[in-house]
Amino acid sequence: MSGFDVGWSRAFAGRRARGSAGRFLLGAFLVLAGVLMLLPVLWVVLQSFEVPKDQTSVAPVWTPTQVTLGSYRTLFVTPFLLNMVNSVLVTLAVVVGATVVSVLAAYAFARLEFRGRELIFTLFLAALTLPSQVSAVPEFVVVKYLHLLNTQASLVIPALIQVIAIFLLRQHFRTIPRELDDAARIDGAGHLRIIRHVMIPMSWPAISAVMIITGQYIWNDFFWPELFITSTNRMTAPLALYNLESVTGGGPVGAVFAGLSVLCVPCVIAFVFLQRRLMEGIGFRGIAR
């Protein structure tokens, strides 16, 4: 992980270090900042294992008098498991589908010549500058006329066009030496084979970064599910939790805490494992703008 710590620490190496007290304070500040950032999550997770008496106590209980899975039992009486499956399936479908669509389009933009290439590419790029959510009204109309309202397909199909992914992959494909696909073509490979055996292996880091940022966006999205999905059984997990909370007027607090924990913890774990790729993905998206 040394990729991200060049800069200042190295910059100070040539010079007598700043006072070690200052450095210690900085470290202490960062440790504290991290604790403050994660404290809300910790509080929610602890709450989810507490008995109702502790959950409703005004003074936050950090050392539960009794540990119970009762909140989780209440939560999974609702179709929350189904909602989680929905979330996973929608995310997977978008990640796979959008990556395929983007790889094909990026290859066409990067390698092939055709009339209108620059125009189409410019139109695609223009879509990047428009805020996606202001298209809520017309997109709702399109989805309604395609008879997709209140289906999972309404969350998948419109998300398959990820302009940023097409753009990033096209940039990356252009850095792959052309001799490689020329050689493959002489050996009789068609475009699809070149994509599969040259482009994808050569740009796997970029593709996986694109997959992670797309997956993160879809998994966490709240707006479109809120707009399109109305039946409880078809909701994605965060929406179902909101529904549970608002319908019951904050009744089973424990169940909501349990649901929040179930949705938080995978994020933390995923981050620990995907940290590097994710940072690259975000940095990559940033630099590409």
Partner: protein
Amino acid sequence: MRSGVAVHGREEESVTVSASGKDSRRRRRWPPWRRGRVGGRQPLAAYLLLSPALALYIAFIGIPLVGIVVISFVQWNLISPAHFVGVSNYRAVAHDAALGQTLWNTFLFDIMTTAIHVVLGLGLALAVTSVRSRVVRYWARTAIVTPFLMSAGVVALMWSYIMAGDTGPLNYYLRQIGIHPPDWLASGTWSLPSLVIIDVWATIGFSFIIFLVGLQSVPSELLEAAAIDGAGAWSRFRKITLPMLSPATFLASVTAFIGAFEIFTWPLIDTNGGPGIATQTVLLYIYRDAFQNYQFGYSAVVSLVNVAILVSFVAVMGLLARRWVHYERV
């Protein structure tokens, strides 16, 4: 446009000729009038490969963009047929006091969030890069970015409990240290700043990473040289790091600005736009007009106004950026 293609073709030929000699001559792409014959089967393949993306683009980006202009001239609730009403939606929007308040809320929220994003994101990135201990670096980085990975719905629900006036842990501890805390989300004064706090907590990770990546491009030799010449920490920061970071700063501020302008989930879940309309933001307003009051034509106009305002803000930011963003490398 055409010249762009031609230039590309020329580049490509020179590369292939120098690299693989005789073979590439068969695939000459210059001059352009021969291109069609040589690469004859390419356009079809290109359109085939592009067709999924193109179809999706037309259906979910192109048609909505044209559609929203059309819808803005009709009165329509999606059930009974639409009828043309000319510019009366526009006229109504111009006299909509609630929209004015909504835009003002969004603007205030946006300015506060963007400023904090830039200052705090940069500060944290500088701190993380200057600290020695790997463990501390790893801990801070993980903690700062983790909330960014959580669903907006999860974040909003979580904070509605934390900031609850009487029962929330935040106010409990504030009372413990002798502060008389406001009823954050239900208070006319504090509800918008509360949403800013939630937003910063949830999304600071993004600006933090942008600055972290940006800091890598600051050449350490430059900082070392300045240090040897006797420049203090502040002047090195002011004269070297800050100018070298200006592209990252620009990116972080534009991204934060656009993101905050589209804010929706916190006001929906945490305050429901209230109290009154104190935290009603543009997207929530559009959402309510269209999907709760079924005024699709009206909300289309509001969307267009929203886009126009956002685009002009970003354009101004882009113009101003020419004065302070440096792209040259040392």
